[in-house]
């Protein structure tokens, strides 16, 4: 029954965490934790309660972890190791501006597992027909839309409007959000103008540094599809705090360490 519940939640993109006990006679025991519910049994009530707390904390950030507890859920214990797999809802990508680049961006955003929304104030351009891969196409002023939209640290904001009159109010709103990636399309000259304008309205240097512009990694992208790949690669590199060069030029480990998930 646990698996059916898990599968139903995953298909509906509802947040859910699966806890597996790795040690002792109850190895393999499961607890399925949602935001307001829990099913299953890890062995003791206290252990279940401790696991529910951990699982909900991990759901908030969408991370998996291995945690050790005492047999009765004591936080200092080491007898029981639990693997907690948090399935957070899909991260969100907002693409502002309905142009050819947006179609390619929506496509690669979907491919990477984002829920993609394209926003443009012009109803003629913001259509599902022109943006078949987008989950949602919204006709709205970008800054007004973003000021009401849910944003968290996993959210990617892609500003493709490259028109100062849209970009400045939109970037002002974007910089008030905790978005993990804020990219703005436009030439170096366009961005210099934007920076000047943003400084004038009181945006700090620290905030300006959050804007990836000109947008994307330096791979010489020409087409909308290539540009979308360059932007997607920059989103990943930003998340992983990598520079984004060629692996053959470096000597660092290929994969970042995932420190918290290492068993004792």
């Amino acid at each position: 029954m646990i698996f059916e519940r898990l599968a139903a939640a995953l298909r509906a993109d509802r947040p859910v965490a699966l806890v597996t006990r790795l040690d002792g006679a109850h190895a393999g025991a499961k607890l399925l934790v949602s935001e307001d519910d829990a099913h299953g049994d890890l062995g003791t009530h206290l252990l279940n309660a401790a696991a529910v707390g951990e699982a909900r904390a991990l759901l908030a950030v969408g991370e998996n972890a291995l945690r050790s507890f005492g047999e009765h859920g004591e936080p200092v214990g080491v007898e029981v190791r639990l693997f907690i797999e948090a399935f957070a809802p899909k991260p969100v990508m907002y693409v502002f501006g309905a142009i050819d680049f947006s179609r390619a961006m929506a496509r690669i955003g979907k491919y990477l597992g984002y829920h993609v929304t394209v926003v443009d104030a012009r109803p003629v351009f913001a259509t599902k027909q022109r943006l078949p891969d987008a989950d949602e196409v919204v006709v709205a002023w970008p800054d007004e839309f973003l000021s009401r939209a849910p944003v968290n640290a996993r959210t990617a904001l892609i500003v493709l409007t490259h028109d100062v009159k849209f970009d400045i109010p939109l970037l002002q709103v974007a910089l008030r959000t905790p978005a993990g990636y804020i990219g703005a399309m436009g030439s170096r000259r366009t961005h210099a103008n934007r920076v000047e304008e943003l400084r004038r309205v009181g945006i700090s240097e620290q905030d300006l540094a959050r804007i990836s512009a000109p947008i994307g990694l330096d791979i010489g992208a020409r087409t909308p599809e290539e540009t979308a790949i360059s932007i997607a690669a920059e989103i990943i590199a930003t998340r992983e705090q990598r520079a984004g060069g060629r692996l053959s030029d470096g000597s660092e480990p290929v994969h970042n360490a995932r420190a918290p998930a290492t068993p004792a």
Binding site: F3, A7, L22, F83, H255, R258, A261, P263
Partner: protein, 104 residues
């Protein structure tokens, strides 16, 4: 897990017994993050992966054993030793994989 959901549901609908192997921890460089799943059914079909192919056949054997009634177990694969022809990761990392029959 999400990438193997369709396969697992299809197999279970066919009445196949299923085992899953889940990466629960990695050390140093490892190709797949915790949460990566390899699923196996009693017919021997496979879905998903737990590494870049380095330890899949060893995990497959563990999963077959779990389907046959073996207890859930935590197995660890470290760096491969070319002389001993043991199973391991060529990339220098270590992965911990929990293997269990999917009877829940």
């Amino acid at each position: 897990m999400i990438d193997v959901l369709d396969a697992i549901e299809r197999w279970r609908a066919e009445g196949q017994r299923v085992a899953i192997a889940t990466v629960v921890g990695v050390e140093k460089s490892a190709p797949r993050d915790p949460g990566a799943v390899l699923a196996v059914n009693e017919r021997g079909d496979v879905a998903g992966s737990v590494s870049g192919g380095c330890v899949e056949s060893a995990v497959y054997e563990e999963a077959q054993d779990a389907i046959a009634g073996g207890r859930p177990r935590l197995v660890t694969y470290g760096i491969s030793d070319a002389d001993a022809i043991s199973v391991g990761l060529t990339c220098g990392g270590t992965i911990h994989v929990f293997v269990e029959r999917l009877d829940w």
